[in-house]
């Protein structure tokens, strides 16, 4: 029995190494989520087209709506209307709000929140062999909240996909510092 085990050591080591790496990758991804939690919600817009990217901006820490100038004969009806959402980072859910509600919020337009998080796109990693089958490439169109080694996929509305890239649909506006959807979490009722 011992002799058989000794003879099979290279096979055992050879098969253990990739298994251990999978475990290590899983731990490095999921372990930080137990110790790090984002706390500050953020406001984003969804829908529209390339020209409506600058429709909503932050001015003096409040939402400001800008006039959009379209080229002549441009078909604006082709694209979904621009809508505003507040994302609860604790529950990882979004809720639509009206522009007037959004204007009551105190916003920070910095890409990094006061607690060090930022909203980024996925890396679109397909891996070595998966690249040949285009596996994993759609993650580029996903949004993540990230700080250091911590990263979590965001469930934004609508579901992001390739349209996000071409139609520039999901646009981060600002972190909600104060207001009805402020720092400490759950949505109040309106």
């Amino acid at each position: 029995m011992r002799k058989q085990f000794k003879e099979n050591i290279p096979l055992i080591i050879g098969l253990s190494i990739p298994a251990l790496m999978i475990v290590f990758v899983a731990l490095s991804i999921y372990l930080p989520t137990f110790f790090v939690q984002p706390k500050i919600n953020f406001l984003y817009s969804s829908g529209g087209d390339y020209y409506s990217a600058s429709r909503y901006t932050v001015r003096d820490h409040h939402l400001a709506e800008n006039e959009i100038r379209y080229p002549e004969n441009y078909a604006t009806a082709r694209w979904p209307e621009v809508r505003l959402f507040v994302h609860d980072v604790v529950k990882n859910t979004s809720r639509e709000i009206t522009p007037s509600e959004a204007q009551t919020l105190y916003l920070d337009s910095q890409t990094e929140s006061p607690d060090g998080f930022s909203v980024v796109s996925g890396s679109g990693d397909g891996g070595l062999i998966s690249i040949f089958f285009f596996a994993g490439i759609d993650s580029y169109y996903q949004k993540y909240i990230k700080r250091g080694n911590f990263s979590r996929k965001l469930n934004l509305t609508p579901d992001v996909g390739r349209d996000n890239y071409y139609n520039n649909q999901i646009r981060f506006i600002g972190w909600i510092i104060e207001g009805a959807y402020g720092q400490k979490g759950s949505f109040p009722t309106y």
């Binding site: 099979n8 190494i17 999978i22 996925g122 890396s123 679109g124 070595l128 285009f134 990263s151």
Partner: protein, 326 residues
């Protein structure tokens, strides 16, 4: 020594009673039998190669035929011509395996099955509504194929199943890790890809060592070759390029290369020596262009690198002659 001298020598030995007629006949028969065996082995190797070339051409023919008629086929037919072909080829291989003389033909049918089966499963899952471009689906398909071919190897003990098991196992490793990573921006894409290649290549080396005295030395040699190439390639890539270099991997790389070259002597394997020498040359060229081209100037840096490459080439040749060839 010409024929006349040989006969004179034999005649002298016979007169002195040192060799008998039976001994001479036995030696003659042994020599001619070995020659016939060698010729037979060469013939069977050639026919094996032809079987597998034929199998590859059959696979290409299937793919082209399906591709040209894809839009005219309904869903069921698409599954039948892809997955159905793979299963049919596998079954034919099992039937031929029952006859020892047709064993190589059976293996070529298993080969066709192994090439067509991934396409068949992708088509089936696509028609079933799964997102086949997703890493999750790819992992599932790879897991099915890996399990199927590993089980086939355990029961039927054909080396072609082990080759496919290793291939599908590698695919499973990469696709499942991609599924876990899921585009996570906290992980550096290229660094993670480098580490995955490193681990896969290291696994190949260990599997090659395990098989070196078992089923097939050829499989072991191929695993060693791909393993060493992947391992040193990944280690060199992980070193990066100035100013974003990784000091750890740049410093440890020479140690890894000399370790591989030392292993070539211990394992008496040429691919370790050849790839070790080649990657050492690549490392010298990389370091010279990264750190010395500005200070010494390109011409002097090239001269130094050239002399070092010559030294490495002679060192590899010396090791091969003294320790591996012997």
């Amino acid at each position: 020594m010409d024929k006349k001298e040989v006969f004179q020598h034999i005649s002298r030995l016979a007169q002195e009673g040192l060799v008998t007629k039976e001994e001479l006949i036995e030696v003659y028969l042994e020599a001619t039998e070995k020659g016939a065996q060698k010729s037979l082995t060469r013939q069977s190797r050639l026919s094996t190669i032809l079987y597998f070339i034929g199998g590859t051409i059959v696979f290409l023919g299937i793919i082209i035929l399906i591709g040209q008629n894809w839009h005219t086929l309904n869903d069921l037919t698409k599954i039948l011509v892809t997955l159905g072909s793979a299963l049919a080829a596998f079954y034919v291989g099992v039937l031929f395996s029952r006859y020892e003389k047709l064993d190589t033909v059976a293996q070529s049918f298993y080969f066709i099955s192994g090439l067509v089966a991934p396409i068949g499963l992708n088509v089936t899952f696509d028609i079933a509504g799964w997102t086949v471009t997703g890493a999750g689906t790819q992992s599932f398909i790879a897991a099915i194929l890996f399990t199927m071919y590993l089980t086939s190897y355990i029961f039927l003990r054909k080396i072609v199943f082990m080759i496919f098991s290793i291939s599908f196992g590698t695919w499973l490793f990469f696709s499942f890790s991609t599924y876990l990573i899921d585009g996570n921006p906290a992980l550096d894409t290229w660094r993670v890809a480098g580490y995955r290649c490193l681990i896969a290549a290291l696994t190949y080396i260990f599997l090659g060592y395990y098989w070196r005295e078992r089923e097939s030395k050829v499989l072991s040699d191929w695993l060693y070759g791909f393993g060493v190439m992947g391992f040193l390639g990944a280690a060199l890539a992980l070193g990066g390029w100035s100013p974003q270099q990784n000091i750890f991997w740049e410093l440890i790389f020479p140690g890894l290369v000399f370790g591989i070259i030392f292993l070539s002597v211990y394992l008496k394997n040429k691919s370790f020596l050849v790839f070790g020498a080649l990657y050492l040359m690549a490392y010298i060229i990389k370091i010279t262009s990264e750190y010395f081209s500005q200070s010494l100037g390109w011409p002097l840096a090239l001269v130094l690198a050239g002399f070092m490459l010559m030294g490495i080439g002679y060192f590899a040749f010396y090791l091969n002659q003294k320790y591996i060839k012997s």
